[in-house]
């Protein structure tokens, strides 16, 4: 579905100078406006604590959005990330609280749990990629399968029950801090950095953009198109796996019904607001981070100022539309 080309039809040559500036820095502008607005109206906004709160709340979305951005760069989309988060978040406690916990050192059990949970999410990502690459199934449908079934699997694993735990070694991922900065922020930063570096400096990055730019040409150029596709979905799965762990670590509880619910849409919105075209061929990762921060800040602003949930939805919708529209105005000129 993602192919409707941003039509070149009516090229309006002279985009007003002001608009051009705004659109080049669409997400940045939206973010700046929100910041200023908050400083003006939100009580107790300027504080380290506010920064920490926003960073921790946006962490999982950014982590998921990184993988999503790679998928989108190949012209795909991954609806299953929320469900994969749930699966990873359910499996980890099953391991470190279950059979293997007693076996020896809790640290080993936690390490095993982290690796296994993320690996399972990655493998399910490979499954998504396999459906897309091997059968040529539209990404939105291919990942819809795990979107539906994935959460079901997570729920079946624990029969829908909540798992709660008190394991400081694990909770550290979500609750600990280094130099006053939450651990999860480091996790996030590392993943963003790795992705940016990969896209800028490696062959894989170029290939991803090539596949998203023109898949048939990529095939005829002898690029390993299938492997690249499988790889990006795998990366997206891995990211979702990590995000799932972060969520349960913050809460010291794993709720298969709730982990990652609706996060796919937030991640996609972050990518779009950040200026990467959903048609593929682009991966503006830093833009995506900014997009996620913008969406987070909208949420924070509305919540902190007592705007009712229902109205907040409408405002959020309007801001996303505006930000994406500004980005697109730029692409048209």
């Amino acid at each position: 579905m993602m192919k409707a080309s941003p039509s070149p039809a009516p090229t309006r040559a002279r985009a007003a100078g002001g608009l051009a500036w705004w659109s080049r820095h669409g997400a940045l502008a939206a973010f700046a406006v929100l910041l200023i607005l908050n400083i003006a109206i939100t009580p107790h906004f300027l504080s380290v604590q506010t920064l920490n709160i926003n960073l921790t709340q946006v962490c999982t979305i950014i982590i998921v959005a990184v993988g999503m951005n790679l998928v989108i760069a190949t012209g795909g989309i991954d609806l299953s990330v929320g469900s994969l988060m749930a699966i990873s978040g359910v499996i980890a406690p099953m391991i470190f609280m279950g059979a293997w916990a007693g076996a020896g050192h809790i640290g080993i059990a936690v390490a095993l749990a982290v690796v296994a949970a993320v690996a399972v999410a990655g493998l399910l990502g490979v499954f998504n990629g396999w459906l897309v690459a091997r059968f040529g199934i539209q990404p939105i449908v291919a990942t819809l399968i795990l979107f539906i079934a994935g959460r079901g699997i997570a729920q079946v694993l624990v029969d829908g029950n909540l798992q709660t735990f008190t394991v400081p070694e694990f909770a550290w991922i979500g609750q600990g801090a280094l130099f006053g900065i939450p651990t999860q922020v480091f996790v996030m930063a590392a993943m963003v950095f790795a992705a940016v570096w990969t896209m800028r400096r490696t062959r894989f990055g170029r290939y991803v953009l090539a596949v998203g730019g023109n898949e048939r040409a990529a095939v005829m150029a002898g690029l390993p198109v299938r492997r690249i596709k499988i790889a990006v979905y795998a990366v997206s799965g891995l990211c979702a796996g990590v995000a799932g762990l972060v969520v349960i670590a913050i809460n010291s509880a794993s709720d298969s019904n709730q982990i990652g619910l609706g996060n796919e849409l937030d991640a996609i919105a972050a990518v779009a607001v950040g200026g990467s075209a959903l048609t593929g061929g682009q991966a503006r990762l830093l833009g995506t981070v900014l997009g996620a921060l913008t969406i987070q800040l909208i949420r924070y602003t509305l919540l902190a100022n007592g705007v009712p949930d229902a109205a907040a939805l409408v405002v959020k919708a309007a801001v996303i539309a505006l930000a994406v529209w500004l980005q697109q105005a730029q692409r048209r000129t």
Binding site: P6, F135, G136, G152, I268, A310
Partner: protein, 323 residues
């Protein structure tokens, strides 16, 4: 030729699977084919069918409409609020709200040039919010005396009115798709937007129309929702868009646009609806008791089976006529 037989099978795949499932149900369960059950399945699925019909046209243009569920919920509230004034005002309010939301989508897509995914995602959020605001976070009772509920709860002979409406609109949809140039232009738009613009067709007008129509159909679905359940429900409609997309895909319409069938979509809707009923009856046998969790796993597996079959066939076809 093997592959062409496979192609046929796949073309009617949804229909064949539906028939198979019905036969299976009839043999295995008592009362499965009772008039009551058949009619209630038809009544319950009418509103999903309407949403899927709109989605089918949207997908044929190569787009997608994520907003249908939220729009239907919003429309059901509007319809409920207008229901004391009678059937027509209620109907008009619901369809009007849906149409308005559809036009917002159309404008975002054809004027602001947002991608359908983002445009309709945004409308989904906004419609969700508007539904709650309009309803003040409550479900809104419809008037039981103004004749409004007949459109949801009434019958024509043994046939539930919602099902009759849906069937009529599917017939109309099929006619439009196959026998009018607007319908063919929908396919042309999906098959190649720029090409169809160069051919002198008007893809923007077509897209405007399909999103507006999808909105209006979602609005009508909202009206049926309100009338059938006696209340406008701002929180209903979650996941309808995915249900509709799945139905369309199961019906064999290409998600990349440019090809599709209206009645196969209906078969897709009924297949999904019947599957739910079969699972309910299976639970009723008492041999196993499937939780909702297993049901989503099963739904996912069914979708998997269908799309893999679909993909295998299209791949073969592609190989046969490699350009």
């Amino acid at each position: 030729m093997v592959s062409s037989r496979l192609e046929q099978l796949y073309k009617h795949g949804a229909v064949i699977a539906l028939v198979a499932l019905v036969v299976f149900g009839a043999l295995r369960y008592d009362n499965f084919l009772s008039l009551y059950n058949v009619m209630s399945v038809c009544r319950n699925n009418a509103m999903y069918a309407l949403v899927a019909l709109g989605m089918c046209f949207v997908i044929m243009t190569g787009g997608i409409d994520l907003s249908v569920g939220a729009v239907a919920a919003c429309a059901s509230v509007a319809a409920a609020k207008a229901s004391p004034y009678g059937l027509v005002p209620g109907l008009a309010a619901g369809v009007g709200v849906g149409l308005a939301a559809g036009i917002v989508n159309s404008l975002l897509i054809t004027r602001a040039r947002l991608l359908p995914f983002i445009a309709t995602l945004v409308t989904m959020l906004a419609a969700d919010g508007c539904a709650l605001l309009l309803a003040d976070n409550q479900s809104i009772a419809v008037s039981y005396t103004s004749g409004f509920i007949d459109i949801g709860q009434g019958d024509v002979g043994p046939f539930p009115i919602p099902a009759v409406i849906a069937l009529a609109l599917y017939a109309l949809g099929s006619l439009v798709l196959n026998r009018t140039s607007a319908g063919r232009s929908v396919l042309a738009t999906g098959g190649g937007e720029e090409a169809s613009r160069l051919m002198g067709l008007r893809p923007d007008t077509i897209k405007f129309a399909v999103y507006a129509a999808s909105g209006a159909l979602a609005g009508l679905a909202g009206v049926l929702l309100a009338a059938e359940f006696g209340a406008g429900q701002p929180t209903e409609g979650v996941g309808w868009e995915l249900f509709a997309i799945a139905s369309v895909v199961i019906g064999g319409t290409l998600l990349s646009g440019g090809a599709g069938s209206v009645f196969a979509t209906l078969a897709g809707v009924l297949l999904m609806g019947t599957l739910f009923t079969v699972l309910n009856f299976e639970n009723g046998l008492g041999v196993i008791s499937l939780s909702a969790y297993w049901q989503s796993v099963i739904r996912g597996l069914m979708l998997l089976a269908v799309v893999v079959l679909q993909a295998t066939v299209t791949q073969r076809r592609r190989q046969k006529h490699a350009t």
